[in-house]
């Protein structure tokens, strides 16, 4: 990986901790973000020369704090800190400063940062968008993609949301139990989107984005430690673990997607699967099902199958039917159709997804799935058209390659049939 790519990845993964800590120091979101931004600029200048610091987040916090203080010309008395050139050369000094500066505040900082993004005045979509921007540092384009909306619409949404957060003031006091629980749902949703930003990355981007999955799992475990009896948080963490467990098998050496059926299951992470299963087990005791628990149960059925043909598709179909009630969405129906295809055949599956065409016409996976069903029904020409649309809509080269693979199979089958 090139220097810049490494730095970029380090800045991305250090961001929640660094911005959270800077927010605590400055008690102002804009100042904190600006300070972090300044620290990133310094990092881009200093790190390639001096080499990366041992603790990038700590470096960014200290440098951000210094630049932020300069920028704001704070009158408050602060402990003067050495310039970053010195810090980079003195690892021991850096660690001592980290202890003093950050210490046990780390978790509270991140939670506060998550919680202010989930301000109740903001509609859920804005909470998540702004959290992805502020906490995770995703670009507006990436966020827009996760939401299936246009980039300029998302830009406006985030700008408005940030203005409202700033206007409402950042709550530094700890929220009450009821308020906190309400916000947990928004935070959970945001974490799962964060997870998916990492999980859906492919090809050359995948290594740099993989920390997003780990960060989402880490933040999820953190939330669960603070809210140990919330079955949906158990479900969320289980879901992320059970999906992330398959990561080592999801791409081939060329960075192309390997379909679930074709994955080398011996590469799956057994420890993550075991932890995910344990969390679902715990969650079920509460008898308070929710979307994360159901999705985790679906992921568990995949993970427990030693071979693809051992997958309990009938149970997966039932769980998706459950999910359609708990959290109706065309994408849930689309995923259910994949199970229906396995259990009751492609004709029924195709019938199930045809009404979704209008809402999912811009979604590459819809056309890919539809193409696969058409192919299985022997409707080659329509299948080819569907795959063509999927390729045109693919967001990453890996996604396009994945559809092309299907298209190749189609051509091959057509040749063989002749």
């Amino acid at each position: 990986m090139s220097n810049i790519a490494w730095i970029d990845a380090a800045l991305t993964s250090a961001r929640p901790q660094a911005v959270g800590a800077l927010l605590r120091y400055f008690r102002d979101l804009d100042t904190a973000e600006e300070a972090f931004q300044n620290a990133c600029l310094r990092a881009l200048k200093t790190w390639p020369e001096n080499g990366p610091p041992r603790n990038p987040a700590a470096w960014l916090i200290m440098v951000g704090r210094n630049t932020g203080i300069d920028a704001a010309r704070r009158a408050r008395k602060q402990t003067p800190l050495p310039p970053e050139e010195v810090i980079s050369d003195l690892d021991d000094a850096e660690d001592a400063l980290v202890d003093r500066l950050d210490g046990a505040h780390y978790r509270d900082d991140i939670l506060r940062l998550l919680f202010i993004c989930c301000h109740p005045d903001l509609p859920p979509a804005q909470q998540i968008a702004v959290a992805l921007r502020i906490v995770s540092g995703l670009t507006v384009k990436q966020i827009a993609r996760a939401f299936l909306v246009g980039e300029s619409a998302m830009e406006q949404r985030i700008t408005r949301a940030k203005a409202r957060i700033t206007g409402a003031g950042v709550p530094f006091e700890t929220p009450g139990p009821a308020e906190r629980t309400e916000r947990l749902g928004g935070v959970a949703k945001m974490l799962y989107l964060l997870f998916n930003e990492g999980y859906s990355a492919a090809g050359g981007d995948a290594p740099a984005r993989a920390p997003l999955c780990e960060e989402a799992i880490r933040l999820g475990r953190l939330l669960l430690r603070l809210y140990p009896a919330e079955p949906e948080i158990m479900g969320l963490v289980a879901l992320m673990l059970l999906q992330h467990a398959r990561t080592p098998a999801r791409f081939n050496a060329a960075g192309e997607i390997v379909l679930l059926d074709d994955q080398d299951r011996s590469l799956w992470n057994g420890e993550m699967i075991a932890e995910g299963l344990a969390l679902i087990d715990k969650a079920m005791r509460h008898a308070r099902p929710g979307p994360y628990q159901v999705q985790a149960a679906i992921a568990a059925l995949h993970d427990r199958a030693a071979r693809p043909e051992d997958t309990d598709w009938a149970q997966i179909d039932l769980l998706y039917a459950n999910l359609e009630v708990l959290q109706p969405s065309p994408i849930v129906t689309l995923n259910r159709a994949v199970a229906v295809d396995k259990v009751r055949g492609p004709a029924e599956a195709l019938t199930m997804i045809e009404p979704l065409g209008e809402r999912l016409s811009g979604y590459f996976y819809f056309h890919g799935v539809r193409g696969a069903f058409l192919l299985r029904l022997g409707r080659q020409d329509e299948a080819r058209t569907a795959f063509g649309r999927a390729i045109a809509l693919a967001n990453t080269p890996a996604e396009a390659a994945h559809i092309r693979l299907q298209l190749d199979r189609l051509m091959q089958d057509a040749t063989t049939a002749r």
């Binding site: 978790r107 880490r218 430690r225 140990p228 009896a229 075991a274 932890e275 715990k282 005791r285």
Partner: protein, 123 residues
């Protein structure tokens, strides 16, 4: 004499290790364990999942209450344990020192076993 060596550490720190850090630590611990195996000292070894996977049965009321999470909220958590056979406490402490050099942070509790049954499965 059989001793349990109980390993306590800050789990949020341990579970924040990068894959490389984790692998390096596990490799160092494996080397210590291998030495113990060769000396015929090592019994069962168990690494525990995070406390978020834990459930506690509290018997201070009837029927007992099932609570999510670990028995006690502590700064450091029980993360793994070993059973070793040692001639005396000093030997067991030496084992703990070896493990401690391989594994950053935390503390080891050395607790003599009153009874020990290996159980009916190999694990």
């Amino acid at each position: 004499m059989l001793y349990a060596i109980l390993c306590y550490n800050d789990e949020s720190a341990v579970w924040s290790w990068s894959k490389d850090e984790e692998d390096a630590c596990m490799a160092r611990l494996a080397a210590v364990q291998e030495k113990l195996v060769q000396q015929g000292k090592l019994g069962p070894v168990a690494r525990l999942m995070p406390t978020t996977a834990a459930t506690t049965l509290r018997k201070d009321r009837e029927p007992p209450l099932v609570i999510d999470g670990p028995f006690a909220e502590t700064k450091e958590q029980l993360l793994c344990f070993y059973v070793v056979e040692c001639a005396a406490l000093e030997d067991a402490l030496e084992v703990a020192r070896d493990l401690g050099r391989a594994n950053p942070g935390g503390a080891y509790e050395i607790r003599p076993l009153a009874t020990f049954r290996p159980g009916s499965f190999a694990g």
